[in-house]
Symmetry: C2
Subunit: 359 residues, 2 copies
């Protein structure tokens, strides 16, 4: 019950242990097509350019920016936690002209500040921000932020590593150009792969590039020659076949449950947890109106060594909860209720284990 | 029995299906240390900078070059197949000054040509070449090539994606500065992760860089803050925990068998296959003196549609063998005898299935 990797469903673990077949085997190619369709459902998009990447969410972030921006392009990154900072670092390394919009940790990205930044920098080409900030438990308003960016003629990149499957995300309706996520959060797959989708406008930008993408491994045009449904599959790299079995199973389970039901389950479990923690006198750090149900940031009480409590939970209850990152280090716990982990028995275990540790 | 992914050992599959734990869990940190030790044995090195990467071999290639070269650095890449070409493409995208040394497909990299190139380009900083060329089945002479490069004061990058565990590789004795491999060849893990090791000289070059590594995800200094055994582990990205269980098991099995025994087993199975194919009148493409035992490139007889034969094997015998790549497309089969797949029963199945298909 940390900030991810989340508990993996037994169906997913069993799927990943199936015998490995070739990455060009017709059976596997069929699975690839299924995965793309199921991903479109999860992202609520009809984007044809929708595919998994053979590396974790941090590589998906790099793929998002590396394919879209060219050296000298102006990029606005909104920062309200660790992963916004990581976006900024990516833009710097790629030679983009970086403009940052900063908000306090534990608060949302402010659409008004983004608007002002875009007025000051009318030549901005891309806006990036984090939907579900794993470091703070904050859910930002993707729909409004994208509307602001679109009004200024920008493409939008949205990090939903912790969001997808846990809270509402509607890529097409909300005008998201590139969204990406990870396998190990609300999809409850083992960590190691990621998911990405590009709008037609984003795909057109990639096609119109003047310079080659710096990363051969993450070059979208090469990746699509392998993942594209039309015609022959051109070998790019050897796909992580077993991880794809797991992703397929997890996406199938999300489809079986239904997205809205999954979102509701995360809210319900969050409410149960928040009530239980409240009875222990523990406070949630993030305002209820923009709290992520799947990532609960809880203030450690004064006079308590938060690391000792985590150690106690791990050694006595085999239960992992997360530490704070950055400005939250030493001050909070991060309790994940992601995917398969968002179950009543986990909530009760966690509340009772914390009660015992704080006695 | 294609060119990889190879057949995964049941012990490895079972290991990957164990419940996922946190990437900062003390249990997992212990596993990470074991993996590094076992990797040092497999690579025959004492390099402290030895770690797995959370992405396939192509990303390891990118990590090797991206960390070592800076824009404008002169790099000699020796090309005798697909993966040498991929190295060259990586250097181009990173802004290195590329010099290529080309040899025919199906032949070794020629040390004499490398020597001449380095005489013409005395300011070369890095030499890269492929140990075990998966596209042609050729094993190049790592020891001699590295000696030539070292004499010219260059660092060496060696691609042993298909080599490690299947043929002799001695990183320290042979003066290899950076070597990398993949999980899905002679280690018989599922595809998706890779292994890399850096000599002290290579590590010093990375530390002395003037510019940031273009890729945040593959930046060695950041990765080492997570993988380094000393002090606290700094979160970089979420490690692919289950894939690491599998890698650990596979490296343990290689250690149990012993490297020399594993190399001998690959040679023995290759000889058995070559004899069997010879009796069918089929010819190996590569000269016996520098043939890879684990990747057998076999000429398709005149008048035979090689793709039909592969389809026949897959549908009638559930047996996958590989097609030719590049200049070999349509002309050869590539038969893998890698890791767990290098067993007598596989060799017999393959020979008999080919006999039936060619009747």
């Amino acid at each position: 019950m940390g900030p991810g990797p989340s508990d993996v469903h037994p169906r997913v673990l069993a799927a990943t242990a199936q015998p490995t077949i070739g990455h060009l085997d017709p059976e596997f190619v069929g699975l690839m097509d299924d995965i793309k369709s199921l991903m479109r459902y999860a992202f609520q998009t009809s984007n044809s350019l929708t595919l998994p990447l053979s590396a974790p969410g941090s590589a998906a972030m790099e793929a998002a920016f590396a394919n879209l921006i060219e050296p000298g392009d102006k990029v606005v990154v909104c920062i309200n936690g660790v992963f916004g900072n990581r976006m900024a670092e990516n833009v710097r390394r790629m030679g983009g002209e970086l403009v940052t919009v900063e908000d306090d940790w534990g608060t949302q990205v402010d659409p008004q500040k983004l608007k002002e930044a875009l007025q000051q920098h009318p030549d901005t080409k891309v806006v990036g921000f984090v939907h579900a900030e794993t470091s703070t438990g904050v859910c930002s308003d993707v729909k409004t932020l994208c509307a602001v960016a679109k009004e200024a003629g920008c493409l939008t990149i949205v990090d939903s590593v912790t969001g997808l499957g846990g809270v509402e995300l509607r890529v097409d309706d909300w005008q998201v150009d590139v969204a990406y996520s990870g396998s190990q959060k609300c999809l409850s797959c083992p960590p190691g792969i990621s998911l990405i989708t590009y709008s037609d406008a984003a795909a057109a930008r990639v096609k119109a590039r003047n310079s080659a993408v710096q990363s051969w491994f993450l070059d979208l045009s090469l990746l699509m020659a392998y993942w594209d449904g039309d015609g022959a599959r051109t070998y790019h790299h050897t796909a992580p076949v077993n991880a794809m079995y797991g992703l397929h199973e997890a996406l199938l389970m999300l489809h079986e449950e239904g997205l809205e039901h999954a979102w509701q389950r995360h809210r319900d479990m969050h409410n149960l947890l928040a009530d239980g923690l409240g009875e222990l006198g523990l406070n949630m750090v993030v305002d209820a109106s923009y709290r992520l149900p799947q990532l609960n940031v809880v203030a450690a009480p004064d006079g308590i060594n938060e690391a000792d409590v985590r150690k106690h939970l791990l050694s006595h209850y085999n239960l992992e909860i997360g530490a704070g990152l950055g400005v939250f280090a030493g001050k909070v716990w991060r309790i994940g209720l992601m995917g398969y982990a968002a179950r009543k028995e986990n909530v009760l275990l966690c509340v009772n284990a914390l009660a015992s540790a704080l006695k």
